[in-house]
Symmetry: C2
Subunit: 188 residues, 2 copies
């Protein structure tokens, strides 16, 4: 399971399930997400398999935290995964399916409304990534190419997120313009 490997990777520095959830939201959200209800059982499973160890710690506020750390076997499993060659899967994009069948509505106004809403969602995602980038840049003057490996490889993924996000916003703008042109042409 890929989530297992992602968690192993994140746990190179020990953390609780709750911490991990926060980290998904903070930095990894452009290519992975997981709910607590999936994280907790997965951590338990990894511990049972001997890839993680846990210890209960008092938390400054709230109940005790269960902090997980990689075992030697866990690190070996992580390395083995990193050496697997990339598998590119089909991404299911429901909103693109909606665009595909949009002719059914026979209403360019609806199409424009849909693509407008889509554009704003996509732009919002880009803005979130740009904020993360600004933070990274502010934190370390070596950003991006002089960063140590531990931050350099994450930066590569951020670069893709930004590139892809901007391409999508551009695409939405082009769609809107093309549909408007068609409407005008039909009115003549």
């Amino acid at each position: 399971m890929a989530l297992e490997h992602v968690l192993l990777g994140m746990l190179r520095t020990p953390a609780s399930g709750y911490d991990l959830k926060a980290e998904f939201a903070a930095s990894i959200s452009h290519f992975w997400a997981a709910e607590l209800s999936q994280i907790y059982p997965t951590l338990q499973r990894l511990e049972k398999r001997g890839l993680l160890t846990s210890k209960s710690e008092p938390s400054g506020r709230g109940p005790r935290r269960k902090v997980y750390a990689l075992t030697r076997a866990g690190r070996a499993e992580l390395r083995a995964w990193l050496q697997q060659s990339p598998k590119v899967n089909v991404e299911r994009l429901e909103w693109l399916a909606q665009v595909w069948f949009m002719d059914e509505l026979e209403d360019p106004k609806r199409s424009l409304a849909f693509l407008g809403a889509l554009r704003s969602e996509l732009a919002f995602e880009v803005a979130a990534l740009e904020k993360i980038e600004q933070q990274w840049r502010a934190e370390d003057p070596r950003y991006p190419d002089q960063l140590p490996d531990h931050e350099f490889y994450p930066q590569l993924t951020l670069a893709l997120g930004l590139k892809k996000g901007r391409a999508r916003v551009e695409w939405a703008d082009e769609c809107i313009a093309r549909i408007k042109t068609r409407v005008r042409r039909r009115q003549k």
Copy 2:
């Protein structure tokens, strides 16, 4: 369920489950995929709910085909779905997660091998989309902006597939160049 709606959309022209699987592979593969083992039960469910009807037909070769068609209720359901505003979900990209943690291997040669393999997979996908585009262009001189709505909206999705695919290949090339630069710098 989104697959249900995608099937309803595809069934505006009647088809069998087997046909639909072929169409996923032929034209929709850049944003959706489904196995026969998922398609058949889903079609049955949609029929039970009154959104589809089926009739058994002899096939030129092989066993009889079960051809499904939209009912009035099915068309209404399709329209209702198309009027829902877009929901953009997190796409889980395992290969990007591998890049994120790649520093663990402490081996730029492995990173380059990984990104090289990735680049070729991504380029292969772009090539497949370009082939589809060439076909469409050859079939209809109105491609892309003078196409009737029924082909115009699908073309919009193809345009995104191409744009995104090319951006990803570009990104992989940049990653490879940046890693090589780092290696050279370290050797000095």
